[in-house]
């Protein structure tokens, strides 16, 4: 028992270190690099004194240029007296509320808004179970963790909301990856919300995290992991070869298909040479492993043969 506790403690330390190390800033304090607003709408944000600040009400929301599926998104926010904003997660900017959900950021209004619509709630879908400090005019820290079907919201270091998207009515069809957006001023003229220290740790660039997605029962989650793994490329090869050898049929099948796709991509006459070589190198390394069954070794050998077949025919 003691050992387990020690191990857990160690893992927690390791994990949290990695969180810090793996996070990247999304806001440089100077301009809107990494962000975009909807064309044709009044811009809803500007950079003032190193902060992202909302401007006129009901103008364009601000979206990340990249799409993200699984991550820890962290930032600080400050709301004016009756400020109303929010964070849109896993959304398509063309239809953010339809495709994603909003993590609410709201001053404690009169009339009082319930736990399903207050700061930290997944607005209209999942209430807070631990209502956060809603004091306006001061900076708070929010952390949004999207880990496949589990979404966890924390404010000022305390978890306020845990949502299992599989069991929330209306969330089954939401996107599993999308842009992250800050909602523009949703209150009266003169009110505002400010944001700073915006960072993300993207789980979908971590081969180990992505590999675990291949074992998931939900086909959409597996498809998302497959897409992420495809963008990761060569660093996935070893994990995929392992998966093929373990006896989990779901993971075996996804791994077999992706190994082919990665090899096919690397075999393209248009493929970058370093990308191609890194896939070849990874396949070679895996194909030399003695612990794999014959069919797995043969499969890897065949992919290698496809990638290294007579270059005079190219």
């Amino acid at each position: 028992m003691k050992k387990t506790v020690a191990l857990l403690a160690l893992l927690t330390i390791l994990f949290s270190c990695k969180t810090q190390n793996g996070a990247v800033s999304l806001f440089n304090g100077k301009d809107l690099t990494n962000w975009k607003m909807l064309p044709g709408k009044v811009p809803g944000f500007e950079v003032t004194e190193g902060n992202l600040v909302t401007t006129p009400p009901n103008s364009s929301d601000l979206f990340t240029e990249e799409w993200y599926g699984n991550y820890v998104f962290k930032f600080e926010y400050l709301l004016s007296e009756v400020g109303n904003s929010g964070v849109l997660i896993r959304c398509d900017p063309e239809n953010p509320w339809g495709t994603g959900v909003e993590v609410q950021l709201l001053a404690p209004w009169t009339p009082y808004r319930d736990d399903l619509h207050c700061t930290g709630s997944l607005y209209g879908y999942v209430p807070v179970h631990n209502r956060p400090d809603e004091t306006t005019g001061i900076w708070h820290e929010m952390e949004i963790k999207c880990d496949r079907n589990i979404i966890t919201i924390s404010v000022d270091g305390e978890i306020t909301t845990i949502a299992n998207t599989d069991t929330v009515k209306g969330m089954e069809e939401k996107l599993l990856e999308g842009a992250i957006g800050f909602q523009s001023n949703h209150s009266n003229e003169g009110e505002h919300a400010k944001f700073r220290k915006v960072s993300i740790r993207n789980f979908d660039i971590d081969p180990e995290y992505v590999a675990r997605g291949f074992y998931e029962k939900d086909v959409r989650v597996r498809e998302q992991a497959y897409r992420s793994a495809r963008s990761i490329g060569a660093p996935m090869v070893g994990h995929l070869a392992e998966m093929m050898s373990e006896g989990n049929i779901t993971a075996y099948s996804g791994a077999k298909k992706l190994l082919f796709d990665l090899s096919a991509e690397a075999s393209s006459p248009d493929a970058r040479k370093d990308m191609r070589n890194s896939v070849i190198k990874a396949l070679k390394k895996s194909s030399r492993k003695k612990s794999y069954t014959q069919d797995v070794s043969d499969y890897l050998e065949r992919l290698l043969a496809m990638l290294t077949s007579d270059s005079s025919l190219r």
Binding site: T250, K256, S267, S268, D295, A305, L313
Partner: protein
């Protein structure tokens, strides 16, 4: 089975009319599904003697014996689970093959080499390269081969070919082919011990080794790239047949396939596939859905649509619809009947066995007709447009695509070289 009942005495009488020296001694390899149809078809001919049945699955073999007995109680076939015993027999004239695709070429090749003619199920072969080897072999050993695309023999395809070739539609510039439906995922079933009645290693044959699970085997094998090419590979030969029969398109130079494979199971052949082919002077489009701009296509699960300078023709196995100007008709009276009609696909083959003149869906024709299907699946798998040199029969500047034209066989099996 829908066949007229005939008494034993009748059968005996029929058999007696054909002297033993004129009888064709037939062995059936692969007796499930289509193999059952082979037995029904062939044993009904008075000049056929069904002398052997072979299947790697003893359950299939027992069912095949019962099936044969119900159609022709006088037949006394020998039964085998290893087809090589059939190849060893000098008294067998014809082999029919209804195994999964990955066995088609090797069985035909071994049959040719041992002096037998072959009626082989579609598709012709698992890989493009196998088709070439088969062609070399049939020439060397001077054998007869008919691909089992039995739709070919019907009046409709012959009439369509006559209308297209008559020029009444003008020059044909575009052909649209389609087949609804694609590969199911088949779920993620656990591997299991193969049944005692099945020789799984022999079933796999030249294909890569894989653990057994029922959906990999009978019937649904088609949804695995290790053994077949999915719905597309299955039906291409039926519907592209009418295009090749009518136009014999030449000079294929570009193949661009798109699509997806299932994510909800172990199957890996196309869930849907669309392909653009460019032949010399002819554009060919394959789609998994009927082309929306073709009237009447929606209700057709499979079809071909020819677009000419003066009109169009839409057909499936049994029907055709010709549009010239505002006029829609199912035939064009002024087009003369010029093509000899088939006496039936199996009869056509048996006649060829006797006459030594190749049948309608002979190997040379079948190979050319099947080749675009193989190339499209390579484009699909590599997810890129490919350029083809139809004179050299190689992809241009794409070593991986050329690599996929063939597949190394699993030991102890090997393809002969010529």
């Amino acid at each position: 089975m829908g066949y007229p009942l005939i008494t034993n005495a009748c059968l005996k009488a029929i058999e007696d009319t054909v002297p033993p020296s004129d009888r064709i001694r037939v062995a059936h390899i692969g007796t499930g599904n289509m193999g059952g149809a082979h037995i029904n078809w062939f044993t009904r001919f008075p000049d056929v003697e069904t002398v052997a049945l072979c299947d790697v699955d003893q359950t299939h073999l027992e069912n095949a014996q019962k099936r044969l007995a119900s159609v022709n109680p006088l037949a006394k076939p020998d039964t085998y689970t290893d087809f090589r015993h059939i190849m060893d027999r000098k008294d067998i004239d014809v082999v029919t093959c209804a195994t999964p695709d990955h066995w088609h070429a090797l069985i035909a090749l071994m049959a040719f080499e041992s002096g037998k003619d072959v009626y082989g199920e579609k598709p012709l072969s698992f890989s493009a390269h196998e088709g070439n080897v088969m062609l070399q072999s049939i020439k060397k050993y001077d054998r007869i081969f008919q691909l089992g695309t039995h739709i070919h023999a019907g009046d409709n395809y012959h009439r369509v070919a006559e209308i297209i070739q008559s020029g009444v539609l003008g020059k044909i510039h575009t052909v649209r082919l389609w087949k609804k439906g694609g590969s199911p995922g088949l779920g993620f079933p656990q591997n299991e011990e193969p049944p005692k009645t099945l020789d799984w290693n022999m079933w796999l044959g030249p294909a890569p080794y894989a653990e057994y699970t029922p959906v990999r085997c009978h019937r649904t094998f088609r949804y695995f790239f290790d053994y077949s090419g999915g719905v597309f590979g299955d039906f291409w030969c039926h519907i592209a047949d009418i295009m090749h029969m009518s136009l014999s398109p030449k000079g294929l130079h570009s193949i661009d396939a798109r699509g997806e494979i299932p994510t909800d199971g172990i199957a890996d052949t196309p869930k849907w596939i669309d392909v653009d082919f460019k032949f010399k002077d002819l554009d060919v489009f394959w789609t998994t859905t009927p082309p929306p701009e073709v009237e009447g296509a929606e209700g057709m699960h499979i079809g071909a649509h020819f677009e000419g300078e003066n009109g169009t023709l839409t057909c499936d196995y049994e029907t055709r619809r010709v549009t010239i100007g505002n006029e829609v008709m199912n035939d064009v009276q002024e087009v003369a009947i010029t093509l000899p009609r088939s006496p039936g696909h199996q009869r056509n083959f048996l006649d060829s066995v006797k006459s030594r003149i190749q049948p309608e869906s002979n190997l040379e024709y079948a190979r050319e007709m099947t080749l675009p299907m193989h190339l499209a699946l390579i484009s699909f798998r590599l997810k890129r447009k490919l350029t083809w040199d139809s004179a050299k029969e190689r992809f241009v500047d794409d070593a991986a695509a050329n690599f996929l034209l063939s597949r190394e066989y699993r030991e102890p099996w090997s393809l002969p070289t010529f």
